[in-house]
Symmetry: C2
Subunit: 439 residues, 2 copies
């Protein structure tokens, strides 16, 4: 059987990794796929650089539309990044009847619904294992491995940059700005790190997972997104003293509020009990914890970024597409796990309605009676206390009081914090970090 022909759009880090792994392991890949996979064409802005990477093995063009329109190309591999040009290219590839493999989480989180609908109509596949957690086959696990289950929640460390920063902050006791600078020097953070550190990248990935887990459309605009740039070293220390680690988690979870079923969809720093496996995922590694009714908890761990880990996922998709390219679309795995027409429209819950436990740090003048005020305000809001850590002032007049609450509705905590901040004994604002036991 002749090799299937793929065209690469972009040959940066992931593109070059994909090209190299396909070359190096071509024999193993062919023996698995039953057919060779050939990169027949590459589009790159810098044609000379691209030509050096592929070393005369395939055509190199500057215009990506030439790849998308080429009748020889069976699969278009989109590795450009960003929303606009990739959107045009992917939609045109689909219109041309080509299958698409992409690592572009932003594209899918924003335009996934249209893209998958167009692909469905044309009978082509859009595969995107590389869009979430790099080389970890989490899309396959959620979409095919757990088909027996009603999935209850997905909670993931899905951004390596922020996990690296949080690990360094904890291990070395450094503050956010210092570690970010080091991470940039080491190449773990980009020159403009906003998308990573503000949680946007994690929210893109979470949005994609939520659609597959629950059979809902992608709706990035409804995700709550809070990054780690305001996280203070002192809270990481207190959390540790209380037996917790702070991780940037993406959480998607079924919840029923006042009798109405909905989905929590949120990215934010989160305290996790240090004994949990996922709390011990350090450095730039990724991990996703899935809770489902039949299987219970499963966890998937590995490198979430980098040339070859991401290439691993891109090529796994290429093999899947190669196998299923000629079959009736009905026999393929649906893009978002559920058959088109079988999606549901569960509402994404507003943050005020989510349920969580909370870590609250209140900076107070060391006055008698403040504890009584705090506990009264919390009790009035219907919030019960799990643990309190009161720091000795150590000669200073002011001190931190840390309170861990039991589970409660976020709006109750909002209301309690507003009241606490009005107390005369309280200095400045209350620091609030959500806490998940993940049990």
């Amino acid at each position: 059987m002749k090799p299937i022909k793929a065209g690469l759009l972009g040959i940066g880090t992931v593109g070059a990794g994909t090209f190299n792994v396909l070359q190096r392991n071509q024999d193993d890949i062919r023996r698995r796929a039953g057919r060779g996979i050939e990169i027949a064409m590459v589009a790159a802005r810098n044609v000379e650089r691209a030509a050096r990477i592929v070393g005369g093995q395939c055509r190199v063009v500057a215009d990506p539309f030439k790849v998308v329109d080429d009748p020889e190309i069976d699969i278009v591999v989109e590795l450009i990044g960003g929303y606009e040009l990739p959107y045009e290219l992917v939609m045109r590839a689909i219109a041309n009847g080509k299958h698409v493999v992409t690592a572009n989480k932003a594209l899918l989180a924003l335009h996934g619904n249209e893209i998958f609908a167009a692909a469905q109509e044309k009978g082509v596949m859009v595969a995107f294992e590389a869009a979430v957690a790099g080389g970890v086959p989490i899309i396959k696990a959620l979409r095919e491995g757990l088909t027996a289950n009603r999935i209850e929640s997905v909670a993931g460390i899905i951004n390596g940059t922020t996990n690296f920063i949080l690990s360094e902050m904890r291990e070395k006791g450094l503050d956010f700005a210092t570690v970010l600078k080091q991470a940039q020097e080491l190449g773990y953070a980009e020159a403009d790190p906003t998308f990573d550190i503000e949680g946007v990248d994690a929210a893109h990935k979470l949005t994609i997972m939520s659609a597959i887990a629950f059979g809902i459309p992608v709706q990035f605009d409804k995700a709550y997104v809070e990054g780690i740039s305001k996280l203070q070293a002192v809270d990481i220390r207190y959390a540790e003293q209380l037996g917790y680690r702070i991780k940037l988690l993406g959480i998607a979870r079924r919840a029923t509020v006042d009798g109405v079923e909905g989905i929590e969809l949120r990215v934010h720093p989160t305290l996790i009990p240090a004994a949990r496996l996922i709390a011990n995922v350090e450095g730039a590694m990724n991990a996703v914890l899935v809770q489902a009714d039949a299987v219970g908890s499963t966890l998937y761990y590995g490198k979430g970024a980098g040339a070859e880990p991401t290439a691993s996922a891109v090529i796994a998709d290429l093999v899947d597409v190669t196998r299923l390219a000629t079959v009736d679309p009905y026999c393929r795995v649906p893009h978002l796990a559920f058959q088109p027409g079988e999606m549901v429209d569960l509402p994404i819950l507003p943050m005020a309605e989510i349920t969580s436990s909370y870590y609250l740090r209140v900076y107070v003048n060391d006055q008698l009676g403040v504890m009584a005020d705090l506990t009264r305000i919390l009790a009035d809001a219907g919030i019960s206390i799990d643990a309190v850590l009161q720091k000795e002032p150590g000669g200073q007049a002011r001190t931190d009081i840390i309170i861990i609450t039991h589970q409660t509705r976020e709006k109750n905590v909002d209301a309690a914090i507003a009241k606490i901040e009005q107390l005369e004994t309280v200095v400045g604002t209350v620091t609030r970090i959500r806490l998940e036991s993940l049990s």
Copy 2:
């Protein structure tokens, strides 16, 4: 589209779990699979008990061959266990042109090559996600998620009973016999626990994973199998003092010995650095660590046994078979990851030729010069020492010396141990436990 019809052979723990999860989540499963999955027939020794479980939802028969021969049945789900009857049933189901889903690791580890060849010839699928690590989709990950990679090694905690026993021994400082008894009372160990505690069950699962990872035939008879029944509490304590945990690992790894490529295939108690994620997998949980050239390390964690976790894997297979039942066999994923005709026959290495680090405990009369003897014997055998722990005799005349070696060939260690045991200062035999850094 009419539901696909499955027949269950056996409705014990896993069979009942499969029936119940299929009933409970039938709507979600149909929305994913695009077609209902119906248990149309059940074979069980105790027909009355089976009839109570299925509550009149399907036919119940005593003779499993009635299911296998029934023209209405599309998929036979083999959940009987053991080798002989299931072998006959599975081969007859295949001969009848039926797809097979099985959770039977023993059957596949021993007869997999014949079964897969027969299925290939008949153009039917034999799916077996549930045979390894229960609900964790590790077969899918190895076979489909990592197709881009040259897999270097697989190392797994793949027997929940032994992991539960080892966790309890470490946490409570108890000896093996005491914990085994408790495990039996709690239902974590069977009345006859031999297959679990002697490593046979883990070796079955490892054998299956090795075939998929490396594209070799299943060859259980060549696996090295050592259980945990001789493991002493004192070694768990010493290991902990040195920063290690002891786990029963199944290890399959590529290795080159004297220029010849082969596969290490071995199950035995193993020291692992306590900082590794897999070292922190406690209780009856399973985890598999895969090292591969492109993706690096990935880890898959979850419940390895139990009614519903195993049912989760059985049903995932049913969905896969339902999707692909009507397609050209060439478009399906090959049973052992590589296309038939593309398997290789790498030799399984004899244990003497494996490479590992070692934990050695030598019980000695507390005499001057014994350390010098030990280090001389190891140096003569070309074994270098990584760490030594010498226990204070605490008033007793005798003491333990613990030595951690660097990596070496097992036969060198065998030779050194034989010499050490001949020393007059050494009491009894040397305790030897393999050590893997898994870095």
